[in-house]
Symmetry: C2
Subunit: 360 residues, 2 copies
Amino acid sequence: MYIHEITKPDGRNLTLYSRRPIARNIGPSLLSAPSEGINPHLRWHPLRGEWVAYAAYRQGRTFLPPPEYNPFAPSADPRNPTELPTGDYDIAVFDNRFPTLTSAAHNPPQSIVVTRPAKGHCEVVVFTQDPQGSLGGLPLDHIELLLQVWGHRTEMLSAAKQVQYVLPFENRGVEVGVTLHHPHGQIYGYPMVPPVPQRINDNEIAHFGTTGRPLLQDLIAAELAHGERVIYQGNHAIAFVPAWARYPYEVWIAPVEAAPYLSALRSEQREDLARALKTVLLKYDKLWQRPFPYLMAWYQAPTDKRPHPESHLHAEFYPPYRTRDKLKYLAGTELAAGLFANDTLPEDTARELRSVEVIF
Amino acid sequence: MYIHEITKPDGRNLTLYSRRPIARNIGPSLLSAPSEGINPHLRWHPLRGEWVAYAAYRQGRTFLPPPEYNPFAPSADPRNPTELPTGDYDIAVFDNRFPTLTSAAHNPPQSIVVTRPAKGHCEVVVFTQDPQGSLGGLPLDHIELLLQVWGHRTEMLSAAKQVQYVLPFENRGVEVGVTLHHPHGQIYGYPMVPPVPQRINDNEIAHFGTTGRPLLQDLIAAELAHGERVIYQGNHAIAFVPAWARYPYEVWIAPVEAAPYLSALRSEQREDLARALKTVLLKYDKLWQRPFPYLMAWYQAPTDKRPHPESHLHAEFYPPYRTRDKLKYLAGTELAAGLFANDTLPEDTARELRSVEVIF
């Protein structure tokens, strides 16, 4: 992995990654963030017991611009500035122009509830220079590079002392609110362990305390023994519709053997994870012969410098469709109660996805 | 409140409610539920530590039928059977034809995770016989009746021993997945306290233990003292954009003095809550001069027969729009991490809603 770090004229970080050496003369890109008004804050929700982030300036962010105004397309034209410079590289990571969390946050407003600056990091990860591409369409070694990039970003962000948790994710498709179609994802570096990863880690710690084994590793062994819901099985990685899927067509991807962080993966694990990821993405797109929208999130251990033998890195996919033409809406029971109602059986969606053949 | 209970030919319960005496000769309606295949189950999600409900037969449920085929329109025509009989009544409650939870659930499948029958109740509440109406358009005493009905259903469902929590809610608008436009809501009676109400109750118990006062009652006193976010203020009820709002245009409605259940409200509290509810609904619809979509949920105390002096009944509204023409999508940080990012400030949306004048 080759890395080239650049500081943009507005002070934001830009890091280029490549499978090949990167020319050192690639300069910064020219699109600038608003110079003021970026000052998000957090407020404490006393009844749910969780933080809420307020970033009112995000209302003005870029929303489905026409193709000739793609801020993620590399540009060397000062009349048409974008986020990325031209040059030979594979993946670019830079600070979000409209961050929900930023190290620059300061002086939160007083309120009747506890407030604090919304410290942290919001990064954009552009997967490829090709605006028409897709993550699943990239070559295996490009996807492997992305797994390395996510690992590197996790290390870089956890070195910043405010960051307690690093979440790489991709929102794909207008159905999940994507504002730009150029293949990209995001990374949030949180100043706390957010509620969902905290609950996951609590359950992992409890199981490890009882059994001495990582919880998800035991569950994966059970999925492999059962077999019916497995979508991809390699020597080091697995993709499966979990027996406890909350969304129709939900899929999880994980190394078979627990690892706490993307940066902790051995090369053979990373290689097989890339194969599992590409398999799932191609199956999704082939299922209904069209780009399949989803939210993909990579769960890791908290970045608190403590060992996490209980933690098992994995990706979860939440697709918004429950059938080819019907969306699954999150409504009363999901959003208000927190009990998900799944109108499909994991065994049935797994059968569908298993039957989709992909070759690469 | 007048009540008339009927058993449908397929065994489902139907209860009619009215401000006036109900003729005893109103018969059952004729639409029947599928006679078999209704057998939902729950599976334990080991990482999140919560139950997930599986009800695969719900894929076939009614989806935006044309107006001439409205299953909630009263009908006495056996060639066009619907859920409701004709006659003079205001509100009807009946068992959902396609329940996610039902007392008939039995023999859950074996799985690699813990399973159990999805016991419980799913009821439909038809707010009015008028298919073109809306909750906010109903007369105040009709809305008061609805608050009484929700209270009565809470008592009836909590008398069933499997029900640990009763949640009345309304999904309004195609944006939140509504499948039928006739004004109606739902009530879920859960066989456990679901994750969100459990967290709320945990925080309420902690605050009560420290201060001897209900948490939300203290927060409401602070909102009233602050004033800026208050949308409606009566002698017994309040509507406000909470300082900790997660959604743009989120509004809460509550009695000023804590009460654990809708059935525990005194008549003057119920009367003022109806006025607060009507005010909020009319402001919502007038804001952008069109029906305003939302999820409305009424949080109560767990129905475990224990006293709940810490608990404070209230409604929360989650609107799907962040501006007049932009939806707020729940994506990476909300769904995967559980940290909500709100692109509006509660003070700003409260100002907008306060400036909308409504008269009734």
